[in-house]
């Protein structure tokens, strides 16, 4: 199963033109390398401050563009990783091993499970059952023809 690990933004990561602290970059790089060596890291990226982004608001048929920056830093994201692991607990264990990237020492990382095909099984199961019943009903007539 796969999880998206979402690093929340901080006032530091939101500063215009801000680049991550080189020391932190080094530590994060080492950590990411460890994830790669363990074969669990599928993808990762860091995001630029929200001042370089925009939001598109939907209201019925109308679309309104709102340019960044956005103020509520805690609700913004600063980067993500995609991990492929065996359980939520494993994702948690990996995240706990990450360096603390927040300059104030306070920060938050969110772990969310990605939908996989199997997760849709409950929706499909009814159709699946119907299909199997139909197939089974076909069987005797097929053999009868031969």
């Amino acid at each position: 199963m796969r999880f998206m690990v979402i690093a929340k933004a901080t006032p530091e990561t939101e500063k215009a033109g801000a680049l991550p602290d080189p020391q932190l970059m080094l530590e994060m790089g080492k950590y990411n390398e460890e994830l790669m060596k363990a074969g669990v890291l599928l993808a990762l990226d860091g995001l630029q401050p929200s001042s370089k982004g925009a939001r598109v608001r939907f209201s019925g048929k109308s679309r309104t563009v709102v340019d960044g920056p956005f103020t509520e830093a805690k609700e913004l994201i600063a980067g993500f990783q995609i991990l492929q692991v065996k359980s939520l607990e494993e994702a948690i264990e990996w995240v706990k091993r990450a360096p603390n990237c927040s300059p104030t020492g306070e920060g938050e990382v969110e772990i969310r499970q990605i939908f996989e095909m199997e997760d849709f099984a409950p929706i499909l199961s009814e159709a699946q059952i119907q299909h199997k019943v139909a197939k089974r009903a076909e069987l005797p007539s097929q053999t009868a023809k031969k």
Binding site: K37, G39, L42, S87, E93, A127
Partner: protein, 425 residues
Amino acid sequence: MAVSATDPHQVIHRTIEAVWRIESARVIAGLTRLTRDFDLAEDLAQEALVAALEQWPQSGVPDHPGAWLTATAKRRAIDLFRHNAVAKRKHEELARDLEALEQTAPDLDATLDNTISDDLLRLVFIACHPILPTESRAALALRLLGGLTTDEIARAFLTPEPTIAQRIVRAKRTLADQHIPFEVPRGLEFAARLASVLEVIYLIFNEGYSATAGDDLMRPNLCEDALRLGRILAELTPAEPEVHGLVALMEIQASRTHARITSTGEPVLLFGQNRTQWDQLLIHRGLTAIERAHQINTTRGPYLLQAEIAACHARARTPSETDWHRIVILYTELARIIPSPVIELNRAVAVSMAQGPQAGLTLVDALASEPSLARYHLLSSVRADLLYKLGRHPEARTEFERAATLTRNNRERSLLLARAASCDL
């Protein structure tokens, strides 16, 4: 303790399982180097796991769980050596070594860190030693490197747990009896031993990708386990193009997981698949792995060639965009390295797509006398398909029916019979 919707006891157990999956290979690898006894190292690590299961529910998970497991296992090793009268002198010496290492604890972690990759690689080579039957190698690799429990391996292979447990015990005994050293092979032996490792990983992947037993066509968990092993190996041996080739092949094949089976469990052939369902992230990873292999050198082994063939399909947004000429070149190269009628058959299909059905049929007919393909349903089904495309419908019908009698897969059989029936239309 906070009130939780999920049973805290179960949560801690799943946490311990997760820690074990993350740490066990490194713990076992490190212990094997210290004790010079792989079988003992695994037992000690298992004992440390039992201790964790006993203690962590009360004490909580330690801050450095891997270090805790290693330290616990090492303490057990020292106790064991002290109390073991047999080969006392050797063991005392080892116990002293261990204690000396213990006293230099801060450095020990650093030393372990530096040599951990080497130890892990040694563990890979011991688990996949060609002296062991393939199925034992697969079980051992999943247990030692994938951190799976015997029960998980048994469920993955739909084999009773005692069978898997016995397989592992026997494998470990064989390794001990034959005095298989804990080392990375050198020189000419390295290539042969690496091939054995790659074979095991691809076997695990294929067991998941085209399940040979059970009702399901696929068991995606096994594919994920194999991919994880492959990715670990790629970081341990970054200079081996075939390792990247195997990883690329598995990533690209896994990218089609969702598209190759309908919601009702029927197989969908490559050309019928909805390509928008292919996982672009895995394709990207596969293409990157091919790139890494190319950066090492220009020679292409069988895994890299197969990966490149898979990549030709992955790059084509529709079947008609497929670069069949390139696929023919790659199959020709592959057939040169591993002469095999099955590869020749695949090459014939590629030729038929690049140059037309008649060119393909000529090659297929040349394979008809091949004894190893006499009862191979794909030879008949490919031949049938080419005859159909050439408008020779009555011959195609006979050949589809022949293929249907040869296949052992029920779903495939009904597909072939349907095609036979369509020849009359």
